[in-house]
Symmetry: C2
Subunit: 311 residues, 2 copies
């Protein structure tokens, strides 16, 4: 009789692991270091070792374990095959196959953004919905699409890559992906800083932002202080993101967008700029799409990962 399941969130520096009971409650969680050297060949063995030693420590038998869910930063298809993960040094790996060999436990794998979306649907900002899109505004812009309660992985695990929607023909700088004019270049934490610097350079108008270092946080703090230039920057951010999400809505028609990542710490004010511009461009059949902030923070990954295996 299964009593437990493990949720694993593999990041570029640390691996988060959670032990969950069958009601989906976290019994305990911990972290191990991500060893990316030697093409990341230690990563899965390290996870396996950590899980097996936790089982031993707590007297958990293999038969007590339903399985392991793992989220990784790379494209993963429906069978759990990852097609390379640059930050981990990985090429193509059959994660369920490799983990079964190491642990004899059933394993499922997904892309980290998709898995986090599943977590937010289950326990976070998307609770009560089964068609959600989670948008992560961090160093980059990630997306996770859940259709009818399940991850939309795509043919080669590249679904939900909304950070790389082309939104600006005039952009001259290259995105990390090699293209020019990607959504990520304007609406990630670094993208917002770039927008802010360009605005500050264009005029001599006074702004709180001329003092101190510019971050996504300082821009939205200045918006809350009604700084006109910060509001202009937030408008431009909202125009890019709202318009792109209107496109995404016409394609996938979710019930709700859940906005997370570091930038979302700006709070509800962030949503007002996105929603206003979303409504301006969205197909009328999708006009009632809701918006909410993500609530699970760093725990979205382990929660979504374990949800995969408990589904």
């Amino acid at each position: 009789m299964e009593k437990y399941a493990f949720g694993v969130d593999v990041g570029g520096t640390t691996i988060k692991i959670g032990l969950f009971d069958m009601q989906g409650e976290i019994e305990t969680k911990w972290e191990v270091q991500t060893r990316t050297e030697s093409h990341g060949e230690n990563i899965l063995p390290d996870i396996a070792k950590s899980i097996l030693s936790k089982c031993k420590e707590l007297g958990i038998d293999k038969d007590d374990v339903l399985g392991i869910g793992i989220g990784v930063p790379g494209p993963v298809d429906v069978d759990g095959i990852v097609y390379g993960a640059v930050n981990l040094g990985w090429g193509t790996i059959d994660i369920p196959g490799a983990m079964f060999e190491l642990t004899e436990m059933r394993t499922m794998a997904g892309n980290d953004a998709n898995v986090a979306a599943l977590g937010e649907m289950w326990k976070g900002g998307g609770i009560g919905h089964k068609d959600i899109i989670a948008v992560t505004l961090g160093t980059g812009v990630g997306g996770g699409i859940i259709v009818n309660g399940e991850i939309l992985a795509g043919a080669v695990g590249a679904a939900g890559e909304i950070g790389h929607i082309h939104v600006e023909d005039q952009e001259k700088e290259k995105c990390g992906c090699g293209n020019k004019g990607c959504l990520e270049q304007f609406t990630s934490a670094t993208g917002i800083v770039k927008l802010a610097k360009r605005h500050l350079k264009e005029t001599d108008a006074p702004s709180i932002l001329r003092e101190g270092a510019i971050t996504a946080k300082s821009v939205f703090d200045a918006v809350k202080e009604k700084d006109p230039m910060a509001i202009e920057i937030a408008e431009e951010f909202g125009e890019y993101l709202g318009k792109a999400l209107a496109t995404v809505a016409a394609v996938v028609n979710p019930e709700i967008f859940v906005i997370g990542g570091g930038v979302s710490k700006a709070g509800p004010v962030l949503l007002t700029f996105i929603e206003k511009n979303f409504k301006k461009h969205v197909f009328k059949g999708c006009k009632d799409t809701e918006f909410a902030l993500a609530t699970l923070g760093n725990d979205a990954g382990i929660n979504g990962a374990v949800r995969m295996i408990m589904n």
Copy 2:
């Protein structure tokens, strides 16, 4: 033991019905008129009557029938509820429920573009694939998304509405949906004519297109004659559509786009303009997405409809 299933494609003027065997072969197909008066209240009874009389004619017992699949021109959710169909005069209708009452046969319903996509996957341009997007370039621009062999309907049946992706901030004319700058305004049969007329007005340059009526067909016929202005128009068409499909690919990551509808009669030359621009903007993880022409024509609907029920 079930031996047959019916596929129904409801259009604004005619309803196509096909009787299929369990191998998916069409035994016979016929059409009945779509009676849209009185809010289309006769449409489902007419379909039921036609199916029941065909059964009687051929000596088919109800127990011999697996069920009925129906495609309709409106948003349909996963349960077969249609949320209004303007061309039929319909409001919200529970199609499976209503049809069961009329025929005592199990019925499934889907949006016509989604159902046609399923047909193209099964027997047409998308054969051999399970993640396809069918794009219909006709009077309007429709889209049908198939993920892992199943229709992606969306929260309120509005998924795949790629004709209403916003692609042009400068457009001053309104789209049928009420927005301005939708993909449909530039890449439908009528959109291509509009692009052509604008090009012809801009200069006095000679062109085959200055003789006779302009249609999507005459534009691509002129492209085949290497008419420079026609090529410019096709390039603009390809830029709008290729860029939009690059966005769609980053969201859903299909294996293949299958291009159908009246405009697709232009043949393979059409794909060259779309693919070139697609590759220019697409996220590298989706760069191997294939393109093909639809092959089923008007039979895509009845085939996809019956496939729903046979799945």
